[in-house]
Amino acid sequence: MKPWGKFFFGLGLAFVLANCTPAPDGPKVETARLANGLEIIVLPDPRADVVTHMLWYRVGSADEPIGKSGIAHFFEHLMFRGTEKIAPGEFSKTVARLGGQDNAFTSYDYTAYFQRIARDKLPIMMQMEAERMRALIINPDIVAVERDVILEERSMRVDGRPSSLLSEQMRKRLHAGTAYSVPVIGWRDEISALNATDAQRFYERYYAPDNAVLVIAGAVTLADVLPLAETYYAGLTPSQAPRDARRVASDLRVRDYASPQVRVDARVRQDSWRRLYRLPQSTAENRQLFAAADVLAEVLDGGLTGRLYQALVVEQKLASGVGAYADSARLDNGELMIYASLAPEASFDEIAGAMDAQIERLVQTPPSEAEIARAKMQLVSSAIFARDSQQSMADIFGRAAMLGLTPQDVLNWTREIEAVTPEDVRRAAEKLLPIEHSLTGHLSGTGER
């Protein structure tokens, strides 16, 4: 499924305190805000007697101090390792004993914690989540063990996977000089040096109600949630120390863009090619450009009907698989990626040539009405299919909130997609996909093509 809402605008934190007004058949969204700054978004879905309780913090790896890469993600792990009232390891065990599941994730721009559980257990989830927002105990012995766990995680996700190593090296160059050049999980040597003092400092600043958004989806309404939120979250003290402004690249040209990042690695069996384009920061002013970018990526990708597949796989037989993906849901510079798995006889140059030709074609000539209609149909219907899952809904609205978007902005997205014209897509290709804004990567087992 296409993620609904690959979009955002600006940092202006405008709060909507009333109910949003979706289309008559759209999802119901209710919002509120506590006096201590905690925002609340409720997405009622009465079909199952289950809720998804998520607490999102406006802090991610891109907010880490220089030299402390990995602390945001490290910290996420420590949130499970004991508070004043919850013994280490007991958080998840208590959730499980009550019939629920929990987890958390960290990204460049946010960190989120969630539990999925029967509705009647929601008060206890709130009680526990509120407890670890301000009463975590950072024990140096536990920090040391958890650091080993995270190094194992890095080995599994990155160091043992040539493809992840290539992406990491590409982003280091693509986003040079900005925070996105550093991987979310952190550099290995910097993770190894993280300690309890780093964690404590990070915690005090960012884990506070005025830096968080509570999202609850499932068998509840705001009327159910608000009294509970008042009980458990209203007593928490705000930190009044929001994250610092970051450096955003406005000159999007990439240094040495013409020399690809090459990784030759004997562990690779299927050679692959990829290119990342650095996108401008998404703001309130360029929303329509990014709506066009979503349609653009769909025209290029679009599964078997997309342009890249038809050209590289069906007609030219250079690739066994291809794709395009716009990740503009970032606070700073987003990315648009195109990629291909090489057919046995194909060379990296042939793939690049074929890809360039497809981009050039889009820059020169607007796509046909039929292509645009098909792309819009996929994108707009993805917003309907997303409503089938309370977890997806909580994820979409929570992520949007982290990027400074209101629920109303999310609901408006389908209308913005509907408004995109073929010429908008052509202009988006021209503006967003100059080769100078990109970096190409080669992943090869032998280095021989």
Binding site: D49, K85, R97, G100, V149, E153, M156, L304, Q390
Partner: protein, 436 residues
Amino acid sequence: MQRYFIPFFVTLYLAVSPAQASPPVQEVHVRDLSAWMVSEASLPIFTLEMAWRGGAATDPDAKSGLSMLMARLMNEGAGDMPAKAFQQALADKAISLSFNAGRDEVTGKLRCLKRYQQTCVRLLKLALTAPRFDAEAVARMKQEQSSAILRAQQSPSALASSAFLKMAFGAHPYGRSKDGTQASLARLTRGDIQAHYHNTFARDNLKLALVGDMTRAQTRRLMRDVFAALPAQANLPRVPDVLATRGPKTKHIERRGPQTSVTFGHRGVAYKDDLFFPAFVMNSILGGSGFSSRLTEEVREARGLAYSVYSYFLSLEHGDLWLGSVASDNKTTQQALDVIRAQMRRIAKDGVAEPRLEAAKTYMTGAYALRFDSGAKIAQQLIGVQLSNWPLDYFKSRNQRIEAVQVEDIKAAAQRLLADELLLVSVGQTPVSLAK
């Protein structure tokens, strides 16, 4: 802040009343066809899950990968529409139609917006009754599958698990990859695919599950319109039952990298065995419940030896396994395995205490409801339960059967099922020993 807190121990004494897991499931019959359905009209969409018994286990030995290749081709053109035209017709109405091959079945999944129901049903029928298998599409899907075989060879965990299945099942079809080998794939012809299609897509081996904005009458009509046109009987070779080979046995595949990835296990337990539920609960405590499992506690939380460690039962139509997996630094892989084996011995020797069993039961019964909180998930449950040969009352009886498990059952299940004679495959730089 203090005053907002209920003491935490209070929560542990609350009467546990798991949410009613499953919504009402109806059984629908049309002639010799049957389907399980949940009619739910709050969103204008529906999902249809289909499964035909057969799958990769029925591929001839020299032609492994045949079911998978056929499945890849089932949405690549039908009737008078070649692949591109067919895919465009689907995309124009945001219809998602895909097929896949499992070890014991070929599955299909259709997801539609209600307002395009007619187009959706028409295209599904066309795909099922008049697939084209054009030479162009066959060549392209062979290339895609060949690439999938290569990709599986570059993932340490995929390498370990495929080598493990080969070790456990030997020459039985379960020992092969569902994608086949480069050699078997190259041998497959359009004729093979055509024949396998006629042999697989029938009525007597078909299971159906439908969830969403469809009435009972509309579902009956869909079943009649689409599936009544299929042949009455499938014509597939009988797959023999198989017992996994006995350990101890190890195999090491050398691969550069910081970690060694290990798959270990041995014979498992069939769904129909009386020990299945005790074993299921026992494994949840040992390695099946994520953050709450003993393996996570001992390997990850106490020692920092791994990010991911787990175990599970794999119950196939003709054979059963208990499997586990861990990836640890080359320097600590042996230690991680020793800790895992100590936990296996511990649960077999001492069983579990009552509170731990109760916690496992409230987790398993409570979390069951989380599998039914979206239409797409409900459809997966409805087809999955049918494929496991459980009756319709499984959605109610499952939790009762978990509740009925007693502490002595856990110990008995562990003693009978957790043999220490493991089969083990390691991929990395540390050959793991079972000597200790």
